[in-house]
């Protein structure tokens, strides 16, 4: 057993053995990749690999294989490294060829003038944990990895266990816990004194670190390791904001930090390589390895979804899973609808629309037009923390979400759009740098009257662009660059939202609970975890289904549209048809139907009509008010 896990514990050994066998035949590189891919393809094997997301960095062995679930936040410039180099063995004085791939540092005595040196190219990606990942998703990922044990070292599992318990409540204290063993020799066993001293250092140290080093997370208040991933193959296949599960060799060599920090001002003038980087740039590109580890990528799997409850890889497992779930689909939908109706204070129509919104997805783009987006504006929301509670419920259902409270202050001060910082040469992240299918909850009820300054106007424009075109224009100072995205935007507001939306539903509460907080908490508590888990699977799965429209139904839809126009050309426009087609699509998918039926179309028409009559009613109400 232990030998079979060498590929996890000592991957570099595997790489080097293959390199030594190869006799400089360049095919060895492909063989290495094939080997690791093969190992990971084995059943369950990927769950044996410890994950950077769950296990604190200091519990991981350097140079072992780890995985990391992340979002590509920035792509640095490609760098050239010594793929193969020659060293002189000090004992035998013989020249030895060594492999520099998957390593940050070379061994001693490199012969820089050797003719056998092979220069190769690699690129560094700055990766952060997936922004806005819901606590339940994190937990669930952690639990699934609980099963795996690193067998070669007996002490690791126990530590791991401890780390899970602490994960949720006190992440802050962890670095200190780790520091203790190091300080012990100095303290000469005066354990009591240590205990009293430790807390004081605990409070200062983390804040120091964070102010010193901005880890550049898209969302405020995020935690977790950021990672510099060295990518060797398939550079063009990766894009910014991709969500990946990366398997690679962990490198935390302290030399990296020392080299970065050692700065001799007198050398700066003479050495051109040192003077080209500003301190900011150095900090951004060579942060201490203890804070931002390096990961040498061996294999990366793009994540189609970030739901731990669904089988991850598109294998036979998954299709079996899907077909088994399809049977239940309609019943789960009914339960979820009932749940959401309760949450939305008894408003069934709004619940229906919320459900459709939660499974919406930009499935394709026609020139500039994103198809399938379904931004919902829930107007008439009760004030006083109702929206906050509503968000918490949404967060319980989807794997990634973020609530943006649109108060004047946040709109004016927050950075939504990522911006290139040319001094540090990195992309400074913004709150709109989100992974695909993240639920963005815009809380407009928080907006009060007042003045938006220029950055506020820019932020509102960015939100408008996001909703209308599903794109974010990143600010590159001299020009803007457009990045398409796929974010579900839900706007809650009192009146009609100032932002555009695909569909507005005025909320009509059927019940007015005296204590809103209590009401929502009881609803939430009433659900079993297994039930909630079903909802989660349902929402993620419905989104991935294929969909088509038959010619016959196409014809019917066309006829219907012509008829509607005949009756009242003013009220039904191309825009309305667009929306109804999306509603029909989502409605069919929500029932697990992959083709549009005539019934499905009628239903879509029906609920859209209900919604419209409600909006018009609202309008006339408002018209009478002043």
């Amino acid at each position: 057993m232990p030998s079979s896990h060498d590929w996890i514990n000592k991957p570099l050994g595997v790489v080097e053995a293959m390199f030594a066998q190869s006799n400089s035949n360049p095919e060895w590189e492909a063989k290495v990749l094939e080997y690791f891919k093969g190992q990971l393809r084995e059943k369950e094997s990927h769950s044996w690999v410890p994950s950077l997301n769950d296990v604190p960095l200091h519990y991981l062995k350097p140079n072992s294989l780890v995985k990391f679930r992340c979002l590509v936040q920035d792509m640095f410039d490609p760098e050239f490294y010594m793929g193969v180099y020659e060293t002189v063995d000090p004992s035998t004085k013989a020249n030895v060829l060594r492999c520099g791939k998957y390593k940050d540092v070379t061994e001693c005595g490199v012969d820089l003038n050797s003719r056998n040196t092979v220069t190769a190219e690699r690129q560094t990606f700055y990766c952060v944990p997936i922004p806005g990942e819901s606590p339940w998703a994190k937990e669930s990922y952690g639990c699934s990895s609980q099963a795996r044990v690193v067998p070669s070292t007996s002490y690791v599992p126990s530590r791991q266990k401890r780390s899970y318990e602490e994960d949720d409540d006190d992440m802050d204290t962890q670095p200190q816990k780790q520091r203790e063993p190091h300080t012990e020799p100095h303290g000469n066993g005066d354990s009591k004194r240590q205990e009293t001293e430790a807390p004081s250092s605990q409070t200062t140290a983390p804040s120091d670190c964070s102010s010193h080093l901005d880890l550049n997370f898209p969302l405020p208040g995020e935690r977790g390791p950021a990672c510099l991933v060295k990518v060797y193959e398939g550079l063009d296949s990766f894009k910014l904001n991709d969500t990946l599960e990366i398997y690679g060799i962990l490198s935390v060599n302290p030399v990296l930090t020392v080299l970065g920090e050692e700065k001799d001002p007198s050398l700066l003038l003479l050495n051109p390589t040192e003077s080209m980087e500003t301190p900011e740039e150095q900090r951004a590109h060579d942060p201490p390895a203890s804070l931002v580890p390096r990961l040498h990528m061996l294999y990366a799997r793009p994540l189609q979804h970030n739901n731990p409850l669904l089988p991850s890889a598109p294998t036979e497992d998954q299709s079996a899973f899907v077909s088994s779930f399809l049977v239940e689909m309609a019943s789960v939908r009914a339960e979820l609808l009932a749940y959401l109706t309760h949450v939305l204070l008894g408003d069934g129509l709004a619940a229906e629309y919320l459900l459709l919104h939660l499974i919406s997805n930009v499935y394709t783009r026609r020139d500039v037009l994103p198809l399938g987006k379904f931004t919902l504006n829930l107007s008439g929301c009760p004030l006083n923390s109702y929206t906050e509670r509503l968000y918490q419920i949404v967060q319980q259902l989807v794997p990634c979400s973020y609530r943006l409270s649109m108060s004047l202050h946040t709109m004016n001060s927050m950075r939504l759009v990522p911006k290139k910082d040319y001094v540090a040469n990195r992309l400074v992240s913004g709150a709109l740098q989100l992974a695909r299918n993240t639920s963005l909850f815009l809380d407009e009820t928080q907006l009060e009257q007042g003045q938006l300054d220029s950055s506020g106007v820019r932020n509102i424009t960015a939100l408008g662009n996001l909703i209308s075109w599903q794109k974010v224009d990143y600010d590159f100072s001299y020009h803007q660059m457009e990045f398409p995205c796929n974010i579900n935007v839900l706007v809650t507001s009192e009146g009609r939202s100032l932002l555009p939306s695909d569909c507005q539903v005025p909320l009509q509460p059927q019940v007015t609970p005296p204590n809103m907080e209590e009401y929502l908490t009881t609803i939430h508590m009433a659900q079993f975890t297994s039930q909630i888990n079903k909802f989660r699977v349902y929402l993620s799965l419905a989104r991935t289904l294929d969909y088509s429209i038959s010619d016959e139904v196409t014809k019917a839809v066309e006829d219907d549209f012509v008829d509607m126009r005949k009756d009242d050309p003013q009220s039904v426009t191309a825009e309305d048809l667009h929306r109804m087609l999306v509603v029909a699509r989502l409605l069919s998918l929500s029932l697990g139907q992959t083709t549009l039926s005539r019934d499905g179309w009628m239903r879509a028409k029906h609920i859209d009509m209900l919604r419209r009559s409600r909006t018009e009613q609202q309008k006339s109400l408002n018209g009478n008010e002043p």
Binding site: D74, D77, E79, F80, Y81, K103, D104, V105, T106, C108, G109, V110, L112, N113, T119, A120, E121, D236, L240, N241, V255, L259, E262, L270, N271, P272, T273, E274, S275, M276, T364, R366, D367, V368, L369, L371, Y422, N425, V457, T461, W469, F476, Y478, M481, P484, Y547, S548, I549, T554, E558, F561, V562, R565, K566, P569, A574, E575, L577, L581, R585
Partner: protein
């Protein structure tokens, strides 16, 4: 070792011996040229430091050369005493370890070089470059190369049928700027082998070129005085064009890449040679920089005191250097990735040549330097630092100043691509094909798409500055107005994504400043910097302005100048300038009353000043046609949008790429001119347009409309890839223009097309009726006899009672104003007085 291996680099003791110029002149030059740091100063000190002859020029890093191998003692060195100037751009600063060839290398490697003993062909170690042949070839190139088809702006004023570079040498002798820019593609077409050597071994070949050109130059112009010897600066190497495609194979080769400057550093004085003096015996010595380091001599060779030597800064030699960061230009990038940056070093006179924001083409040598070895550490980072030592800068936007077409030389089309484009152009229905390929997700609106298509192609640029008219606008401006939700914004977005220099702004969010240009104080340098806005940025492109009607008046007013004169004048914070803004404007406007009112004219519906409206060539209404057949087609189109398969979508994407190239090609290479028939047809069309109106006593066409017609006809000829504007083009231009007019300039009261709606903001009938009301009012007042003052309200009621047609308050007030203009009455508050 101490043989006079004179290379163009560095100080050579032999130069004085060989040349015998009047020493006065030389000294005079020396004092006037303080920026020549590494010039030989006194022969005495040179002799004192014989150990440090620099031959690294002829070697790449990690390669070595035995000086005596390279026979370079040609007579040109120090020709007529013109000093040699160091070329740090070629990497002389980083010197390779000097290795004795015979001891170090196996005989196989030395074989080529060691033939020198027999007086045979020599090649520079590690290359296949023979100095003599290479020199000869290059001289032949200079003397013979003729490029009759050259259209580069640099060659302006030169006789294209004479050897190009000899003329340039002549220019150098006149102007005195000792730099010769050589287009690599010229070298390639003249001698492919020489070109290959230049690309592969720039470090060795360029100095050889330098020698060759100097020999030639001083032979021809023996009396000219130059600051230093001529340096050859090759550019336009075809090796690499894109920053993304740089790879380890390009190291130490000459490359050309394009990009945008994002940051420039302060000037860095780089020490080339350190001057040490012994504190004890005042003995001095010089040490050259070796790979970024100065090895301080530990022992004085004169008095043998240890650690007595001190660095004397004032007598050390420095050269200028600047670090520049260049970022990939947005057009070169694959979607979804971030742009790459590259570090570039500029040396000597190339320092401060570029500013952040400039788009440039850089020719230089790509370098990779291993990270500094640290003696205290056993391991090193296995990463190289890469940069480019620049040899030549070429600003791409500089060309704009010359008024040449931006896209020339920029966009290269492969033969096959051109072939497919030409095949497409030969099809009779190319116009329809292209217009339907435009924004396929937007349904029908064929004429509008055709109009936008013509706008994308644009007219022919003409220059009438000789006759005082200035530039003649070639860009077509289009305004789309109509009901909200008729996919106007979508059309704008599509166009913005299609054209390389498109800008998209919304009238609501943009201010005059954001559109034009603003002055900003650079926080670092405290320098005032002119930041350009959307209109200037879209020079030679299209500026899409959404919600045109929501724009503030002051913002709109800047458009007046842009849309006719195609320039932007700025007078702000002490900066007064005129910028080019040859942009087409594609604007979209919503009607004031949310829904288009068919009973009102265009002007009344969108409330835009007619002065601005008349600057649009085409104004289209995007209205809901409300017709069953249309609805059916629309529904079909939309439903198809939602269920079409992947392949069909693929197909369309291909179309967009083809369309892009087609437009770029036509804009670059096709410049149609009117032929006789077409001009005749245009004249007729114009006369016809005028005639229509004159029958009813109104003017229906102005010269502006004629200009529009010409532009549209030219654009249509471009669509056909035709160099001549023919009658078909004029026909289509007429049809489209009429179509647009029919939509936008129809007088709702009479149903006639009336151009004065757009030019004066009021239809002729409306004007006539205004006059009638005024006359009626006057008559009524006169009939009352002598009543010097009347109540306003009463007068209004009386007039309404009297008149058959309904009179609105507006009309009444207008009539009063008209009468006041006649000095018949005055209105003060609520009373009307006769005069």
């Amino acid at each position: 070792m101490s043989s006079p291996t004179s290379t163009p680099v560095g100080s050579k003791p032999s130069s004085d011996g060989l040349a015998s110029p009047p020493s006065q002149r030389r000294r005079g030059q020396d004092s006037s040229n303080g920026d020549l740091p590494a010039m030989p100063t006194s022969p005495a000190t040179d002799i004192a430091s014989p150990a440090v002859h620099d031959t690294s020029l002829f070697s790449s890093p990690r390669r070595s050369v035995l000086p005596s191998e390279v026979d370079m003692s040609s007579p040109l060195i120090g020709v007529r005493g013109t000093p040699v100037r160091q070329r740090p751009d070629l990497g002389s600063a980083r010197k390779a370890p000097q290795v004795d060839l015979h001891t170090e290398l196996p005989s196989a490697d030395g074989a080529v070089a060691s033939e020198q003993a027999a007086g045979q062909k020599l090649v520079i170690w590690g290359t296949d470059v023979n100095v003599g042949t290479c020199k000869e070839k290059f001289q032949r190139f200079l003397q013979r190369f003729i490029d009759p088809t050259s259209n580069e702006d640099e060659n302006a004023g030169l006789d294209l049928n004479e050897p190009l570079y000899m003329q340039k040498l002549e220019e150098i002798s006149v102007i005195g700027e000792p730099v010769l820019n050589v287009n690599c593609s010229h070298v390639q077409s003249f001698d492919a082998d020489l070109y290959r050597q230049l690309i592969s071994y720039p470090q060795e070949v360029i100095p050889t070129f330098d020698m060759a050109v100097n020999e030639l130059f001083f032979e021809r112009f023996p009396d000219s005085i130059l600051e230093h010897q001529i340096q050859v600066r090759p550019y336009n190497a075809l090796k690499t064009r894109n920053m993304r495609s740089l790879n380890p194979e390009d190291i130490d080769q000459m490359i050309t890449i394009s990009g945008m400057v994002i940051r420039t550093s302060q000037l860095i004085p780089e020490m080339q040679e350190a001057f040490f003096q012994c504190q004890v015996c005042a003995f001095s010595t010089r040490v050259e920089v070796d790979r970024g380091r100065i090895a301080e001599p530990a022992v004085c060779r004169n008095c043998n005191t240890t650690h007595s030597l001190a660095l004397i800064h004032n007598r050390s030699a420095f050269s200028d250097k600047q670090m520049i960061k260049v970022q990939e230009s947005p057009d070169d990038m694959p979607a979804g990735q971030t742009p790459h940056t590259t570090i570039v070093y500029a040396h000597n006179d190339l320092v401060d040549k570029v500013q952040p924001g400039d788009r440039i083409n850089i020719t230089g040598i790509y370098r990779a330097v291993p990270m500094r070895e640290n003696p205290r550490q056993s391991t090193v980072k296995s990463v190289y630092k890469t940069h480019i030592d620049v040899i030549h800068f070429r600003k791409t936007d500089e060309k704009r100043l010359h008024g040449l077409d931006e896209d020339s030389d920029q966009k290269l089309f492969t033969e096959e691509r051109v072939q497919t484009l030409k095949e497409l152009a030969a099809k009779p229905d190319v116009y329809e094909r292209l217009s339907s390929a435009l924004a396929p997700s937007i349904y029908e609106q064929e004429d509008i798409k055709k109009g936008i298509l013509l706008q994308l192609f644009g007219g022919t640029r003409k220059d009438f500055s000789q006759t005082g008219r200035g530039n003649f606008r070639a860009e077509v401006n289009i305004l789309l107005c109509g009901d909200p939700g008729t996919s106007k914004s979508q059309l704008l977005q599509y166009v913005f994504n299609l054209v390389p220099r498109g800008q998209y702004t919304s009238g609501k969010g943009s201010s005059a400043v954001g559109l034009t240009a603003y002055v900003m104080k650079d926080p670092e340098t405290k320098q005032l910097v002119l930041q350009t806005g959307a209109l200037v940025l879209s020079d030679n492109g299209i500026c899409c302005i959404d919600e045109f009607d929501k724009m503030s008046d002051s913002t709109r007013s800047v458009l007046h100048e842009v849309m006719e004169q195609q320039t932007l004048s700025i007078a702000k914070a002490g900066i007064i300038c005129q910028l080019n803004a040859r942009t087409s404007v594609l604007a979209a406007a919503n009607p004031v009353e949310s829904q288009w009112n068919p009973k009102k004219t265009t002007i009344e519906n969108i409330q835009l000043p007619h002065t601005l409206l008349s600057r649009f060539d085409l104004i289209f209404l995007m209205l809901d046609p409300q017709d069953e057949a249309y609805d059916r087609r629309l529904a079909h189109h939309l439903v198809a949008l939602y269920y079409q398969s992947e392949e069909q979508i693929e197909e369309e994407f291909l179309d967009m790429a083809v369309l892009k190239d087609y437009i770029a090609y036509a804009r670059t290479y096709i410049n149609p001119r009117l032929n006789e028939e077409a001009s005749q047809a245009l004249i007729e069309a114009y006369v016809d347009m005028r005639k229509i109106g004159s029958g009813r006593g109104m003017v229906s066409a102005y010269p502006r409309q004629l200009e529009s017609l010409i532009r549209l006809a030219e654009a249509h000829a471009k669509v056909r890839f035709s160099d001549k504007v023919e009658t078909v083009d004029v026909e289509e231009a007429k049809r489209l223009h009429r179509e647009a007019l029919k939509q936008s300039a129809t007088d709702p009261r009479t149903g006639f097309v009336d151009i004065s709606i757009l030019t004066t903001g009021m239809s002729a009938t409306a004007r006539k009726r205004k006059e009638e009301v005024a006359q009626a009012l006057k008559k009524m007042i006169q009939s009352r006899g002598k009543t010097p003052a009347m109540k306003y309200q009463q007068l209004f009621d009386d007039l309404r009672g009297q008149s058959e047609a309904a009179i609105t308050k507006d009309m009444f007030e207008e009539a009063l104003r008209a009468l006041a203009d006649e000095d018949y009455l005055t209105v003060t508050g609520k009373t009307v007085r006769l005069l």
